[in-house]
Amino acid sequence: MIIENFGSVCSGGRYENLAENYTDKKLPGVGISIGLTRLFYKLQELNLIKTKKKSISDVLIIPMVEDLSVPIKVANTLRENEVNTEIYLNNKKLKAKFKYADKLEIPYVIVIGEDEIEKQIVKLKDMKTGEEKEIKIEEIKNLKF
């Protein structure tokens, strides 16, 4: 069954001479074009695609300290390891920061407070399972997401 109103999503063909308006050179070719905007619109309209991701961050770092040097250092390490990382850089209560991660469905949160810095650890929370782990700061570079 062909979806009647879907129409063609990509088309093309063989042509004899691409550039006859610009040159005497004979330039035959073959090409295909995908109309991405239209394809996307149609897929959405027919409810065929649903957004799975609301953010592209793997990790949100939630600093609960005044001095941001440790959170920034942790972020730098993660980013060097190609982990998409953002730091919540606005002074809000812990709850509001978690809500942000929740709303954007960021899969992991790292909390860094005074206690953690003293112990040279961070708290890593898996937002899906709710599971929390303590990770040594020096071991952040070995984390895989």
Partner: protein, 305 residues
Amino acid sequence: MAKTEPRTLSGFMELLPNDQILFNQMMNTIEETYQRFGFLPLDTPIIELSEVLLAKAGGETEKQIYRFNRGDTDLSLRFDLTVPLAKYVAKNYGNLSFPFRRYQIGKVYRGERTQKGRYREFYQCDIDIIGDGELDLINDAELPSVIYMIFNKLGFSNFTIKINNRKILNGLFQSIGQKENSVEILRIIDKIDKIGKEAVIEELEKINVRKEQIDKIISFIEINGTNDEKLEKLKDLKIENETFNKGLEEITYVIKNMRLFGIPEENMMIDLTIARGLDYYTGTVYETFLNDYRELRKCMFRRKI
């Protein structure tokens, strides 16, 4: 302070972040696949000199152009990626290696009548292979395999790459003495999916195609069966026309090689009614259709785009 209402022009797509992520994922899939086949990236300006961009245009296209003056310079927004490619290849001929395989993904602009689902600014994702003087027919078989891989990766399984060859149609018209009318007849045949067979016959009568000629045209476009059966039936028509037979030979070769490139039989189909790009395409033509979307819904959920 008076506030200006924040509006976006109609016909221009603007997405929320979650949809934009999805859109970009689709675009990345397309781009990665183009690269997988060794196509070279190209980016040309959105604005060009009208004189250059409209060197060929006429009729409908010209009416849809966004055109304006900046100082004394007559400028236009590109309305496709093919004309800029033509300019680019002509301009850089000496510095390109042929066959020149390029991909380009970019926005183009057409002042279409605004209605739901019609965009005035939209992305085209193009691949072209340009030969210097000549380009072997096997290239016509490779392009659909790129499209096959893309739609597969996007999570679709039920789609059909339809293929035809303009020489078959042109040769048919020559053989029934309707060469003069061929562009008009093609235009009418092209609508058969939309308006149906009876309406097509009616329109053909209107332009004075004789009954026996109409019968030939209709029996031709009603050729059905598997791809191989269609090729066989085309041969059985025994049309003694050089163009027709060249077209038949070409499509037979292209189909054979599409199989070699790994396109499954269920995803490709000879469709003798496809006659797009009337004054432009000279041989192979393609259209891709997404089929039963209930099935499609399932696979979109299953697979990560």
